[in-house]
Symmetry: C2
């Protein structure tokens, strides 16, 4: 068996993340103990929220530690098994980390149907899709005809949120960081409108794009975009606090948006933070809905793919700089053709 090639966080970034904050090493593959499996990683996904886990203060993911293997959800095939029920050859998804041959507890991985593209398994049918589903469905709850706005709208969660909201009958407005992304959202993904938050006239454009104000704002960014949305909320509007990507990759986060709590009171707005793992007992429900929309052509997943473990640090930097669209995927092992 190959060595286990790994990407470590070499040091916690002081300001913006750079590829030099990561280091590659190679260790022998660890033989599985009872209940463990060795997985050959095919691909893993990087989420912007992982940047929060590298900040000096502890996030929900716990305090960060330099020198550890980077976390990450991946897809791969079991190549050695000491676990009942997860035989060699099983295609699985789980917390594999940024490494080529992790040895993990079988209880921490779940089977993926043969033939599933890793990009789908990690995107619409993975953490990103479930985050979009429960955040929108359970927290945001858009009604037909209402206006739903999503920030980081071309991102891993955002591009799915917007299409889901459209499927639920909402008018959908995306906020993204380039004109190209805005065009993609409207032309290819069926968003009703999209606004570039780097446009000097952003506030005016945003207002024009939300004439009925905002009933559901799915916030992936925090910061100024959240601040603008707060001033455009409709009475009884809901803000889904999913992430704050604008605040992760910096040593000096922005202050909180203005007008809290006054704006919430005047417009009776609900602002609610959520984390996916609270919905763990309902993942099957979320996956079933996503799979149905995928099969019906009502959900078009986007992914930006990088090749090889050595590209992972750069992939993370590109993601945080807003130069990826959809799910950010790093392909590691055998290509799709060999997997399926």
């Amino acid at each position: 068996m190959d060595a286990n090639r790994r990407v470590l966080i070499a040091h916690l970034p002081a300001g913006a993340l750079s590829p030099g904050d990561f280091a590659l090493d190679e260790v022998p593959v660890r033989s599985p103990d009872e209940g463990e499996v060795v997985v050959e990683t095919a691909a893993f996904t990087i989420g912007a929220g992982q940047r929060a886990g590298l900040q000096g203060s502890a996030s929900y993911a716990g305090a960060p530690v330099a020198g550890r293997v980077m976390d990450g959800t991946g897809v791969g095939r079991v190549v050695a098994s000491a676990a009942d029920g997860v035989p060699e050859g099983t295609l699985v998804r789980g917390q594999l980390g940024w490494q080529s041959h992790p040895t993990v507890k079988a209880a921490h991985v779940e089977p993926v149907p043969e033939g599933t593209d890793p990009a789908d398994a990690l995107g619409p049918l993975g953490t990103n899709g479930l985050t979009a589903y429960f955040g929108l469905h359970d927290v945001g709850r858009p009604e037909a005809g209402q206006t739903a706005v999503v920030s980081a709208a071309a991102g891993s969660v955002g591009h799915l949120v917007g299409q889901m909201a459209r499927n639920l009958g909402a008018r959908v407005v995306g906020v993204a960081g380039t004109d190209d992304k805005c065009r993609l959202l409207v032309d290819d993904l069926g968003f009703d409108a999209a606004v570039n938050h780097r446009d000097p006239d952003f506030r005016t454009r945003f207002k024009e794009a939300t004439p009925d104000r905002i009933h559901v704002y799915f916030d992936n960014t925090g910061g100024d975009i959240l601040g603008s949305a707060l001033f455009r909320m409709a009475t009884h509007g809901r803000i889904v606090c999913c992430g704050a990507v604008s605040q992760y990759d910096t040593a000096a986060p922005d202050p909180s948006p203005r007008g809290i709590p006054g704006l919430l009171v005047n417009n009776r707005v609900r602002m609610e933070g959520f984390l996916l793992f609270d919905y763990a007992d309902r993942y099957a429900e979320g996956r079933a809905q996503m799979a149905e929309w995928l099969a019906a052509g009502q959900l078009q997943p986007l992914a930006t793919e990088f090749e090889g473990l050595e590209s992972a640090g750069q992939a993370f930097v590109e993601l945080l700089a807003g130069r990826t669209v959809g799910t950010t995927i790093v392909r590691v092992g055998p290509r799709r053709a060999e997997l399926t």
Copy 2:
């Protein structure tokens, strides 16, 4: 009939409100048109939230105008009626304003049972009680054994919120602005603990008073107290945004509290603004519960009373300075003995 004596807002305050911002005048009582009644005001209540209505920017109450009669909910007796169903002699509650003999639409007042003390009609059975009830019951939803915190805890809404939360089985912590108020809350009203936010060690004391963190925070103040509570919220905690009294009586409100949206996400906290009038079709339900607790001795209403229309401006200043407890009442007309 007497003249109608009135308190006008003479000019919108530039900084802190002062009694000189008000003016008294006297006009003939206006005869009621069809569907109107003339009420002889017995008492009215002043709420800190009314200060927001005097700020330069429009609040939910609409843009402020100098020269108008101050708004206010009052109790009084109908002394002339041109309305079916509301005969002379009826004891009523409604938007009477700060005036002795308003002429108002009968549809805008509601009968109050004979014998009700105006302080009760305006406190636990009035706007304050209903605000406490719906804010706690529908938005905050404390469960038995959970920790509920209320700010401005000795105030018109706060002292009722705390007792209601205790009646619902919660552990109740009040935040108030003097040691005397804190003693009152614990010794007389049955709060489990109370913390003075002007104590230099407030943050430490607040932490000690909330060892299980905060499941429901009923926020009447905004500002620094909201900021401290945000850092003490339990997982899935709820913040009821009811008011922001710390921010009303100033031309330079504080910035928003730190950590939004990050703290909301990490602890999956819900923050929700509410206004009482959204619950107008359920006032009877709220009043019935409050009346039941009052009758059972499970709710002790507090009031600070001022005498005469000419004291109203000063009463408002005292209220905003934190020198009143419970419902702030201005007695205007005949005393209770004569009313009942």
